[in-house]
Chain length 174, copies 2
């Protein structure tokens, strides 16, 4: 379906509470679990979402809206959360993500974006020209991807425990 | 990791609120969306989880615990929700799932299962002998699989809308 602001925001505003409902209060056996070396735990994923709120979606959208001479996005640091989450509990991170997301959605609503502005372009460091509409749709899909990843990482911890049911539950082998 | 009751229940008790946080109040553009013919929408998935609460996990566990002469599980109807959800809103279904899950977890806790009982066996119609421990671990993974599926189904609706970012977001092509 086409991106429209109200429909997209309906997902964006739910992600912090969805992450909280899945993760808050879970034992570290779940929240620190990974899919193997160099893969992310639910704890790491929440830190990554926080970094995106600070440096990716709204700052990039702002750069597109400015329509200045340099429309090139700053590269995104996919590993920032390994530094930035240090010393913080998962509960802290869930709170921080919720606060930042709410503030960013307030900013977005304040812009009152029109179809004309949604068609404005920025420059992605790898893809080249992209529209504001594509950037905002990507924010939504990025949320949903990390929600799915969070469930999958946890599911894999029981890959052996489910015995023969593994044949019916492809998520543990994905 | 090995299945243990407290760790597994920590997931089971969160699934209804995670589904609610993701889905409650979303427009039908998201909740009735599918991945194509003969695939399930979030609405259908919640109905499937309800049917599992009524006929699968706890009834099968009860059959194992009884250790009667017939330990064979009734086959599971993967399509029951197409009948049983008729006329119900998604809000109804989310409430129903939450109520049934809470009641089932009360039943489970009331059993006070020991390691000896968790090793009791039932007979799966296809796999043959399975343990109660495997059945309960499968309940957990089944929840997480459908949470991931719910996020994935919605993500795919923006497959085209994200433009070139599709290369970075494999969830829309999974």
């Amino acid at each position: 379906m086409d991106f429209d602001l109200a429909t997209g925001v309906a997902i964006l505003e739910r992600t912090p509470s969805a992450m909280r409902a899945m993760l808050a209060g879970l034992p570290p056996a779940w929240t620190d679990a990974t899919e193997g070396p160099d893969t992310w735990s639910p704890y790491i994923i929440v830190g990554h979402l926080i970094h995106g709120e600070r440096t990716d979606w709204i700052p990039r959208a702002q750069r597109v809206l400015d329509q200045g001479p340099d429309r090139r996005f700053a590269p995104y640091d996919r590993f920032a959360q390994f530094r930035e989450s240090q010393g913080k509990s998962l509960a802290d991170l869930l709170d921080e993500f919720g606060r930042l997301r709410a503030a960013n959605l307030t900013t977005l609503a304040g812009w009152g974006l029109t179809d004309v502005e949604l068609a404005f372009e920025g420059e992605h460091p790898e893809f080249g020209r992209v529209t504001l509409r594509q950037l905002l749709a990507t924010w939504v899909v990025h949320d949903l991807g990390h929600l799915a990843q969070t469930a999958r990482v946890m599911a894999k911890q029981y890959r052996e425990a489910i015995g023969p049911w593994r044949a019916y539950l492809p998520i543990v082998d994905r």
